[in-house]
C-alpha cells in the first residue's frame, strides 16, 4: 500500500514536471498566449485561444505554443510571456501595490497587455476595475483612443472599423509607451467571437460578418504584439494606400 502511494506520488511529481516542461520549454521563438489568473472571474473565454491558435497557424507564419499559459502576477513565468491577456466580465478585487509594481515593471521591460471585457456592457464592473488598475499602472500615459490609422489596424488585415462580438465601442483604447501601445483595451468581447462548444458551434451569438471582423481584429492584435509598428514603416505605405483605394 505504501509503495503504491509512493508510486502515485512519484507519478504525480513526474507528470507535473512533464507538464511544466511541455508548457514552458517549447517556447523558443514561438508566440505564447498567456492569460492572467486573478481573484475575480478571469476565465470567461476558456476555449478562445484553441480556436485562435488553429486559425493563426493556418493563416499566418506565426509559430505559437498550442497550450494557453496561465499565470498569476507573482509568477516568474509572467516574465517569459511578453503578451498577457486579461479577460473578465465583472469587477474584481483591486491588485495590491506589490502586484501593481510587478505589472509596471512588466510593461517597462517590454511586455504588452491585451484586456478584453467579456461583459459587452459600457460601464461594467470589469470596466471600472480595469480603468482603476490602468491609472495606477500607467499614470503618465492614460488610456486613449487608438486612432484608425494606427499600425494595429493594418498589422495583417486592413481594417477600417473596430469590431467585436458586441460593439460596445467603435474604438479600441490603449496606453502608448514609446512608439507602440503597451496596453490595449477592448470592450467588445473580441475573444467571445471565437468561443465554440465541443460540437463546433459558436457559443455566443453574433452576426457572422461582425464575428469575422472581430476575428480579424484579434489576429491583428497578436500580429501587433509580434511586429509592433512594422506596418507603419514607409516601405508599406504606398502599398497599403493603393489597397485601401
Amino acid at each position: 500500500m505504501k509503495n503504491k502511494k509512493l508510486l502515485f506520488l512519484l507519478f504525480t511529481i513526474h507528470y507535473s514536471l512533464f507538464t511544466i516542461h511541455c508548457l514552458y520549454s517549447q517556447q523558443g521563438g514561438k508566440f505564447v498566449f498567456t492569460q492572467l489568473s486573478y481573484s475575480g472571474n478571469w476565465d470567461t473565454r476558456p476555449t478562445a485561444w484553441d480556436r485562435i491558435s488553429e486559425f493563426l497557424t493556418i493563416s499566418t507564419s506565426v509559430k505559437s505554443v498550442q497550450e494557453r499559459r496561465i499565470v498569476t502576477i507573482p509568477d516568474e513565468e509572467l516574465f517569459w510571456s511578453p503578451f498577457l491577456v486579461i479577460t473578465g466580465d465583472s469587477d474584481f478585487e483591486k491588485f495590491s501595490d506589490d502586484e501593481i509594481k510587478i505589472i509596471v515593471k512588466y510593461i517597462q521591460c517590454g511586455g504588452m497587455i491585451f484586456i478584453d471585457d467579456s461583459s459587452g456592457k459600457k460601464g461594467s464592473g470589469f470596466d471600472k476595475s480595469i480603468r482603476d488598475m490602468v491609472i495606477k499602472i500607467s499614470p503618465d500615459n492614460p488610456l486613449e483612443r487608438i486612432p484608425a490609422s494606427d499600425a494595429m489596424l493594418k498589422s495583417f488585415y486592413l481594417l477600417q472599423n473596430i469590431s467585436g462580438r458586441v460593439i460596445t465601442n467603435r474604438y479600441l483604447a490603449g496606453c502608448k509607451i514609446g512608439e507602440r501601445y503597451s496596453i490595449i483595451y477592448s470592450q467588445n468581447d473580441l475573444l467571445g467571437a471565437w468561443e465554440k462548444d465541443n460540437l463546433g458551434n459558436y457559443i455566443y451569438p453574433c452576426d457572422e460578418k461582425q464575428r469575422w471582423e472581430a476575428k480579424k481584429m484579434t489576429i491583428n492584435i497578436i500580429m501587433y504584439a509580434l511586429t509592433g509598428t512594422y506596418k507603419s514603416d514607409a516601405i508599406h505605405l504606398p502599398f497599403i494606400k493603393s489597397k485601401l483605394k
Binding site: 499566418t60 511586429t227 509592433g228 506596418k231 508599406h236 489597397k243
Partner: protein
C-alpha cells in the same frame, strides 16, 4: 627826514611785490625740469633660431656661417642696441659671446610663440624692432595672425632673415593636407593640399590621391611661381571606418629631398546613419523586441521585412484585404542590400523564397568585399539551412540542424568585449552578467575558425553569441531566439538595449554612435604634444557636461599613466594633452561616469614616429618669413644680403624715459632772492616813509 620821489618809489615797490608774488606762486606749484634720455640707437631683439632644422638644411658649416654673420654684423654696429635671444620651443636670453657656442639642437621651431614672448618680455620697455634669424619652419601649431597683428599695431617691424635664398634649393614638397574633422560616408569631402615648390617654374607636375596604392584621382599642376600652391581634391568615402589615403608627387630630377613628395593621412569615416536591413522569417517576440530597440535608436535607420504569411498559409480573404506586400527578393539581394550597413537575418530560411545562389553570393560580397556586416539569428530555424551556400562561409559557427528546447543561463566569456560590456569595471560587469535571466532554446553549433565566442550556454557550452571578421566585414551570430528575455526577464531592461546597441556599433564599426568617444590624430612625431578630445553623451545621446572622465595613456613601453582631463567650452566635450617622448604605438583608454552611472568607454591608439618635426621639413619657408616681414612693415633678407643699415631700423621715440628731474623750487637761492626782495621792498617803503 628826506623824502624822495614817492611816485618812483611806489613803482619800484610794486615791481618788487609782483616779483615776490610770482616767486611765491612758483614755490606753491613746485615746478620741475625734466631731463630726457635722447635715444639715437634703437633697441632691437635679435632672435636666433637654433632648432635642428637650421643645421639639417644647411649643414653645420652653414649654421656656423650664419652665427659669424650675426656676430660680425650686429654687435659691431653702432646703429642698434641689440638684445640677443636664442629660441626653439623656448626663448632664452643670451649674451653676444654665447652666440658662437650655439649649436642647432632645438627640437621644435616656435616662431609665433617666440614673438609672443618677446612682446611680453619687453612690455613697458622700448622695443624698436626684431631681427629674426630663422628658416621659417614653424612646426608648433599656432595661429600667426593675432601675433603679427599685434606687432603691426605696436609699430615694431620684424626684420626676417633666412639663412640662404630658398631658390637655391630645388625641391617639391607636400606641406600640409587639410581635411575636415568629421567625414561621413557617401558625403563628398574636399581636401586641400598645400604643395611647396622651388626651382620648377614653368614645369608641370602631377599630384596623385591614392588609397591603398590605388590611384583615386590625379591632378596636373602648372608651376607659375616658386612657393606654395594649393591643389584641391574631392572624394566621397564609400565605406565607414578608418581609410588610409596618401597624396603623392613623382620625384622630379634635381630634387633636394625625395621623401617629402608623399604624405599619408587617415580619414575616420562615420556612417551618416547606420542603415539596417532586417529580414525576419516569422513574426516573433524576438523580432518585436529587436525591432523596437533598433527603431528607438536615433542613430539607426531601419528597413525591415517580416514574412507574415508563407505560401502554405491559407487566408480566406482576397489580397486586397491584407496589408501584405510582396517580398522584393530581386531588388533586395541584387541592388538594395549594398545601400545598407548591416543585414540582419532572423530565423530566415532563404530556401522558402526564390533566392538564388547569386543572391547569397551577393550577401557574402556585401560582407567580405564591401566591408559591411551581418547579424544572423537562429533558434527557430537552424543555421544549418545555409550549409553549402556562400552564407555558410560567413558564419562564425559550424551549425548543426538540432535545436535544443531547454532553458539555459548565458555565460559571458568575454564580458570586457565592447559588445557585452555593461559596466565600467570588470567586477561590476561580471556581477551584472551573473544576474542575467535564463534564456530558452538554442541552435546547436560549434565555434568556427577565427571566431570568438562572447557568450555560451551554461552546461551545454554551445556558443550563443559569436563574432568573426570576414574579409573586410564583420559577422555576429546569435543562436537563440530568446535574447529578448534579457529585457523582459531582467531587473534592468536597458542591458538588452545596450547589448543590441553595442552589437550594432561593433558590427558597423561606428564611432559616432558611441556615448563616449575619444579622438586623436593617427600619427604624431616624436616630442609632439597630442591634443586629445573626448565627447561624452548619455543614453539618449545628449551631451553630458559634468561627467567624471578618466583617461589613461599607455606609452610604447607599456607604462600606463593617468592623464588629467579638462572640460572644454562645448557642452559634453573634454580635452587632454599628452607629451610624446617615445616613438611607437600609444594606446589611450577613457571611461566616463555621470554620478557613478557608467556612460561608456572608448579606446584609441596613435603612432609616434621617430622623426622629429625638425627633420620632417627641410625647406626654407620663405613665404612665411616674408609674410611676417611685410605685415609688420619690416624687411626680408637672405643672410648674405643682410646688414643692419639696410634694415633701416630707427627708434620709435627718440626722447624716451626721464633720465633725471630738477626740482627748481627746491633750490636755496630762490629763497634768498625772495627774502632779499621782501627786505629791499621793506627798506624802500621805510625810507619813503610809507610805513
Amino acid at each position: 627826514m628826506t623824502k624822495g620821489n614817492p611816485c618812483g618809489m611806489k613803482k619800484i615797490s610794486y615791481l618788487l611785490r609782483i616779483t615776490a608774488f610770482i616767486l611765491i606762486i612758483f614755490l606753491i606749484i613746485q615746478p620741475k625740469k625734466k631731463i630726457y634720455r635722447v635715444r639715437n640707437t634703437p633697441t632691437v631683439a635679435v632672435l636666433i633660431d637654433y632648432s635642428q632644422s637650421m643645421q639639417n638644411i644647411f649643414g653645420k658649416n652653414n649654421f656656423s656661417k650664419l652665427k659669424k654673420k650675426i656676430i660680425s654684423e650686429i654687435p659691431e654696429s653702432s646703429k642698434i642696441n641689440p638684445v640677443f635671444f636664442k629660441f626653439s620651443e623656448e626663448l632664452n636670453n643670451i649674451s653676444a659671446d654665447e652666440i658662437e657656442k650655439l649649436t642647432a639642437k632645438g627640437l621644435r621651431t616656435d616662431i609665433i610663440g617666440t614673438l609672443e614672448k618677446i612682446n611680453k618680455e619687453f612690455l613697458g620697455k622700448e622695443l624698436d624692432a626684431v631681427i629674426l634669424f630663422s628658416d621659417g619652419n614653424q612646426n608648433v601649431e599656432k595661429s600667426a595672425d593675432e601675433v603679427i597683428k599685434e606687432f603691426s599695431e605696436l609699430d615694431i617691424p620684424v626684420i626676417a632673415v633666412v639663412p640662404q635664398t630658398a631658390l637655391s634649393q630645388k625641391n617639391i614638397s607636400i606641406k600640409k593636407i587639410d581635411v575636415p574633422d568629421v567625414v561621413f560616408r557617401n558625403v563628398r569631402v574636399g581636401l586641400s593640399v598645400k604643395i611647396n615648390t622651388y626651382g620648377f617654374v614653368g614645369k608641370k607636375i602631377s599630384v596623385y590621391l591614392k588609397s591603398e596604392n590605388t590611384v583615386l584621382q590625379s591632378k596636373s599642376l602648372d608651376i607659375v611661381n616658386s612657393g606654395n600652391t594649393n591643389v584641391d581634391f574631392d572624394i566621397t568615402p564609400q565605406i565607414a571606418g578608418q581609410i588610409n589615403y596618401s597624396i603623392e608627387i613623382p620625384t622630379y630630377s634635381g630634387e633636394q629631398n625625395i621623401y617629402d613628395n608623399k604624405k599619408k593621412f587617415v580619414l575616420d569615416v562615420e556612417p551618416e546613419k547606420i542603415r539596417v536591413l532586417y529580414l525576419c522569417g516569422q513574426p516573433s517576440f524576438n523580432y518585436s523586441f529587436l525591432r523596437n530597440t533598433l527603431k528607438n535608436d536615433p542613430n539607426i535607420e531601419l528597413v525591415s521585412f517580416v514574412i507574415l504569411r508563407n505560401p502554405e498559409n491559407i487566408v480566406p480573404v482576397s489580397d486586397s484585404e491584407l496589408s501584405l506586400i510582396p517580398f522584393p527578393v530581386e531588388d533586395i539581394f541584387s541592388k538594395e542590400i549594398f545601400n545598407f550597413d548591416l543585414l540582419i537575418l532572423d530565423n530566415f530560411n532563404y530556401s522558402r523564397f526564390p533566392i538564388s545562389y547569386q543572391h547569397l553570393t551577393n550577401i557574402k560580397n556585401f560582407i567580405t568585399v564591401n566591408g559591411k556586416s551581418l547579424l544572423i539569428i537562429s533558434g527557430e530555424i537552424p543555421l544549418s539551412v545555409y550549409q553549402n551556400t556562400p552564407v555558410a562561409e560567413l558564419l562564425p559557427v559550424i551549425p548543426a540542424p538540432e535545436i535544443i528546447s531547454k532553458k539555459f543561463r548565458l555565460i559571458a566569456l568575454s564580458g570586457e568585449h565592447g559588445i557585452l560590456k555593461l559596466a565600467g569595471d570588470e567586477s561590476s560587469n561580471n556581477y551584472i552578467w551573473k544576474g542575467m535571466p535564463e534564456l530558452d532554446s538554442i541552435n546547436v553549433s560549434s565555434i568556427g575558425e577565427k571566431s570568438v565566442v562572447l557568450a555560451k550556454g551554461e552546461k551545454s557550452n554551445y556558443p550563443v553569441i559569436t563574432i568573426a571578421e570576414k574579409g573586410k566585414g564583420r559577422v555576429m551570430c546569435i543562436t537563440t531566439s530568446s535574447l529578448w528575455r534579457l529585457a523582459l526577464g531582467s531587473e534592468n531592461p536597458y542591458n538588452y538595449v545596450r547589448i543590441i546597441g553595442q552589437s550594432v556599433k561593433w558590427l558597423t564599426n561606428a564611432a559616432s554612435i558611441k556615448q563616449v568617444v575619444i579622438f586623436a590624430k593617427k600619427s604624431y612625431n616624436i616630442n609632439d604634444t597630442a591634443s586629445l578630445k573626448i565627447h561624452v553623451k548619455d543614453e539618449y545621446f545628449k551631451p553630458v557636461s559634468n561627467a567624471s572622465v578618466q583617461l589613461e595613456v599607455a606609452s610604447p613601453d607599456g607604462l600606463k599613466e593617468g592623464i588629467e582631463v579638462f572640460p572644454e567650452m562645448e557642452s559634453g566635450e573634454y580635452g587632454a594633452s599628452v607629451e610624446l617622448h617615445s616613438s611607437g604605438e600609444y594606446k589611450i583608454y577613457v571611461i566616463a561616469y555621470d554620478k557613478k552611472r557608467f556612460l561608456g568607454s572608448d579606446k584609441n591608439s596613435f603612432t609616434v614616429f621617430n622623426v622629429s618635426r625638425e627633420s620632417e621639413d627641410t625647406n626654407i619657408n620663405e613665404q612665411f618669413m616674408k609674410e611676417i616681414a611685410d605685415k609688420t612693415a619690416g624687411k626680408f633678407f637672405a643672410v648674405d644680403n643682410f646688414n643692419v643699415e639696410k634694415s633701416d631700423i630707427k627708434p620709435k621715440i627718440r626722447k624716451s624715459d626721464v633720465l633725471y628731474e630738477i626740482n627748481i623750487w627746491d633750490k636755496a637761492p630762490i629763497y634768498f632772492i625772495l627774502i632779499f626782495l621782501f627786505a629791499v621792498e621793506w627798506f624802500l617803503r621805510r625810507k619813503s616813509g610809507l610805513l
